[in-house]
């Protein structure tokens, strides 16, 4: 049974003073279902309706029509809110509080036990990389990255079953991104439903099981990601044209020997599928060892990038084609 159900959701906004400019449709009949333990990325261009969808799921906005339910309850049911975490895109936190006071305030609002308040907050602040000095500092003096970490820590209070993250790694340094991935992985393993609204496509592809592409208020496409279905990474290897290009069966044999798959020839590149970074390294080493004149290698444009730039979600991988007049 899905944890979150969205059916034919329609939401429009009044345009101009008093709605004299008509209405602009932000969501035009969105239907989605989110399973427990699933991490779903919502992507789409600016103005696609992503934030509106999140606003409706959080009960900030009232849909014009359609149905929203979380575990069969209304989205603004207080029992649901008690197990909900939210990291907003605009980090307008209470600037006059210290980081620790802010955490304790939200800990109390979340009805979590007062006896463990300080320890719970300290643990979460440590987890997101905010030390005691930072926790004691006023939020108004935080950098963008620190605000992002603090907002993530408050979103994690009480181990939420539903977590909504709006641009969660915007402004976060590489170490913070690694921490974010670890936290998300733990939440997902714990059965939390996580919905991420982000423009960081590579990160969405990496951490989400599924991605929903929203455009002009509609769900244009849905797809499982590498994290969800173990899609192979595709590597484009450019070969020198000054030497004869190896035949397809030879490239296939080299790739198979290195644990990869030869996917075809798209002049002037040979395309290989590999499982991970180590697989890519093994493949390149095998090609060089076999005397193949490799002059460049790069990962192929991601599936999400293709979605974003207008391709269909279900664009099939090109079928292998033999290199032109290849020599063995």
């Amino acid at each position: 049974m899905p944890a979150i159900v969205v059916e034919n959701l329609v939401k429009s906004y009044a345009r101009g003073m008093g709605g004299l400019g008509g209405r602009v449709t932000a969501l035009a009949g969105v239907s989605l279902a989110f399973e427990p333990g699933e991490t779903v990325g919502i992507i789409g261009p600016n103005g696609a309706g992503k934030t509106t969808l999140l606003g409706c799921l959080l009960g900030f906005l009232r849909p014009d029509s359609g149905r929203l339910s979380i575990e069969g309850r209304a989205v603004d049911d207080l029992e649901i809110r008690a197990v909900t975490g939210y990291l907003p895109e605009r980090l307008v936190l209470d600037r006059w509080m210290s980081g620790m006071a802010f955490m304790q305030y939200h800990h109390a609002l979340a009805r979590l036990p007062a006896g463990t308040r300080h320890q719970d907050c300290r643990t979460l602040l440590d987890r997101v990389g905010l030390d005691r000095e930072a926790a004691g500092r006023r939020v108004g003096r935080y950098s963008r990255g620190m605000l992002q970490r603090l907002a993530l820590a408050q979103a994690l209070l009480g181990n939420p079953r539903f977590l909504y993250l709006d641009e969660p790694i915007s402004g976060v340094d590489p170490a913070g991104i690694v921490t974010f991935r670890e936290i998300l992985s733990g939440l997902s393993a714990g059965g939390a439903t996580v919905i991420i609204n982000s423009h960081q496509l590579s990160e969405v592809e990496r951490v989400c099981h599924r991605v929903v592409f929203v455009k002009q208020g509609r769900v244009e496409a849905m797809d499982t990601t590498r994290a969800g279905a173990a899609h192979a990474r595709v590597l484009r290897v450019r070969l020198s044209t000054e030497q004869p290009v190896p035949a397809a069966d030879r490239l296939t044999a080299i790739a198979t020997g290195a644990g990869g798959t030869y996917r075809g020839w798209t002049p002037p590149d040979a395309r290989f599928a590999v499982a991970d970074d180590a697989g890519a390294t093994r493949l390149l080493a095998a090609l060089l060892a076999a005397g193949v004149a490799v002059i460049e290698a790069s990962p192929e444009e991601g599936r999400l990038e293709r979605l974003f730039t207008g391709s269909s979600a279900s664009t099939p991988m090109p079928t292998p084609t033999p290199p032109p007049g290849g020599a063995s």
Partner: protein, 235 residues
């Protein structure tokens, strides 16, 4: 009653330099007047401005900044946010008034003047009622507009009613004068407790009128806040 909401709201209000400065002005000057005039009456009217200072932007500022969204993700209902903030304003206004009355009484005792105990009780009760009324109206206005727009609405309402009241006096238009008095009663709901001092029966009409105004203001504020959309995408 949510002590977490009340404490956080009051802490935020009292750490705002502008509000602290205004509170200083509306409490210290009347206290000085008590010391100079030798009567406690200058402190009788401080609760309402204190409540207004604390309640200004109670909802609108958080809606405009976006902090209300983060608050409402927690298991806290919209009506409870408004009611707890209203209650916080009333408690703080009455508390500050009581503190000023204690200081005022001490100042009078130093002048060998003994304030009437019943009169002090009357002032406390009237202060509590005017604080509750002013905070309710301000909280309601705060749900209508963002930021500190509620102050603008209140000032505009006061100026308009005063202007029309002056016109009514000039032209002897009793109906307009009466209307302006009623509107002023709604903008600043107050309840007199003189009957307690004089030993006369209470005016049930005045009590009902004050209570209904406060209740209606809070109900209107809750209704508006419940319908309010909280997103910058909503404009």
């Amino acid at each position: 009653m949510n002590p977490t909401l009340i404490a956080a709201f009051l802490r935020q209000r009292f750490t705002s330099p502008m509000r602290a400065g205004l509170l200083f002005l509306v409490t210290v000057f009347p206290l000085g007047a008590v010391a100079v005039t030798g009567t406690i009456s200058p402190l009788a009217g401080i609760a309402s401005p204190i409540a207004l200072i604390l309640a200004a932007g109670a909802i609108g500022q958080d809606v405009a900044s976006g902090t209300l969204q983060l608050l409402l993700v927690r298991p806290v209902s919209r009506p409870s946010v408004l009611l707890n903030r209203w209650l916080a304003c009333v408690l703080a206004a009455v508390g500050l008034t009581l503190a000023m009355l204690v200081l005022g009484t001490l100042a009078l005792l130093l002048r060998h003047t003994h304030p009437d105990g019943l009169d002090l009780v009357r002032i406390v009760l009237e202060s509590a009622c005017s604080a509750a009324g002013s905070a309710a109206v301000m909280a309601m206005l705060s749900t209508l507009v963002g930021g500190l727009g509620d102050v603008g609405l209140l000032v505009a309402a006061v100026i308009v009613t005063q202007t029309f009241a002056g016109l009514a006096t000039l032209e002897h238009w009793d109906w307009l004068a009466r209307t302006c008095t009623e509107i002023q009663g709604v903008i600043s709901p107050q309840l007199g407790w003189e009957w307690m001092v004089h030993g006369s029966p209470p005016s049930w009409f005045a009590i009902t009128s004050w209570a209904s105004t406060v209740t209606l203001a809070l109900a209107a504020g809750i209704a508006r806040l419940n319908r309010r959309e909280l997103s910058y995408a909503a404009g």
